[in-house]
Symmetry: C2
Subunit: 207 residues, 2 copies
DNA sequence: CAATAGACTAAACACATGTTCAGCGCATGG
DNA sequence: CCATGCGCTGAACATGTGTTTAGTCTATTG
């Protein structure tokens, strides 16, 4: 699938996704997208109506690709998924990160899908005896998604704290062990923190 | 401290921080900052040289405020800190989030500071018998910072999955219990996942 | 009191950028 | 073979925006 074989519309879309992901929507201008796709700026508008129209199409496309890939892979484990094909996911994850920050409709749809899936995975894990039950399944699912997304979209400054230029397979592998230690044994040696939190919450819900 | 009592320079800086945090650097224009500060656009340039110069000053200012507040509070617990004064931290956390995403120098400095502190807290926790030892202290510190930052800068779409409009004290309190359950008991009931990960890493480092 | 400096402004300028316009080349269908 | 439509383009247009300029006002200083 050489880029030259794609239709101009598809090349524009792909170039836009790449650039939006790398530089953000505002910073990328139509002429840069056109140049990357090997067409004129006017053609971009001709096919998509406006820069915003192009964004909407890209949003939907990335959402579709991400969810369908996740469904196909079946694991519904974001991090493992990424490790299987780091380069293929890279720009799409970046893109989704930006969409999340800007709160686009596609981001909402993506989150709903993936939180639901995380909740199902946990429920299955509990049923199989592999995971502990939670006092708030929904919140746990959100927490798990949050951790996974945060890891995949880790800012370069944080990756540098691990001696890498930016997030990548090396960073993920290094983080995997402490993460799994946390998910296996926890970090605190007793439950004082947990008990104070639950107590505070109960007090709050009574008043 | 009414805004009218501040010097024009300070009012401009404060307005810029607010707007950069809310709308991002690119989307915010100099005239909007000037209007919010009650001055002319030309004065913004007069005092800060350029929009980029203003950004640099804001970066440094927010960095300084955040680290000094963290130092003063002493807990070095980002999440508890936030709960003590949600509104006061709100825009500064948003600002730092944007700075991290755009990889500004101030963000690097902030991360170094806070990761170091997280590592120290863990070490103290281990010494006091309150926390488990880790096989990779540095990576654990990064993970903890990542989780805290991700929570504080949670995208609205994810907050909506918990029935709230956006991140706030209510969301944080709801997440606190599952988070502390995770940090106290872990989630997995056995160590198969952990053992496969460590085995894979060792194999990798041998080859 | 005159003069100098600095805070501050309105208006103009320069340029980047989204979009429109008029037209070209080429394929398809009558 | 003409005509219609479509993919496509270069140039022009309109506007938003960072910055400059020239000048006003006010306070301080000699």
């Amino acid at each position: 699938m050489r880029t030259a074989d794609l239709t101009a519309t598809a090349r524009i879309r792909n170039a836009a996704i790449e650039l939006f992901a790398r530089d953000g929507f505002q910073k990328t201008n139509v002429r840069a997208i056109a140049a990357a796709a090997g067409v004129s700026a006017a053609l971009v508008i001709h096919h998509f109506g406006s820069k915003d129209g192009l964004r909407a199409v890209c949003d939907e496309f990335v959402l579709e690709v991400l969810t369908s890939r996740a469904r196909a892979a079946g694991t519904s484990d974001l991090l493992g998924e990424y490790l299987a094909d780091p380069d293929g996911y890279r720009s799409q994850i970046q893109y989704m990160n930006r969409a999340l920050a800007e709160d686009s409709p596609a981001a909402q749809s993506f989150v709903e899908h993936i939180v639901g899936e995380a909740e199902a995975v946990h429920q299955a894990g509990v049923a199989a005896g592999a995971m502990r039950e939670s006092s708030d399944r929904r919140a746990l699912a959100v927490l798990n998604v949050l951790v996974s997304l945060a890891t995949l979209t880790m800012p370069p400054a944080l990756a540098r704290a691990l001696g890498q230029d930016e997030f990548g397979p090396a960073v993920l592998r290094r983080l995997a062990v402490p993460t799994l230690e946390l998910y296996t044994y926890g970090l605190y040696t007793d439950d004082t923190a947990l008990r104070t939190a639950t107590a505070a919450n109960e007090e709050l819900s009574q008043s």
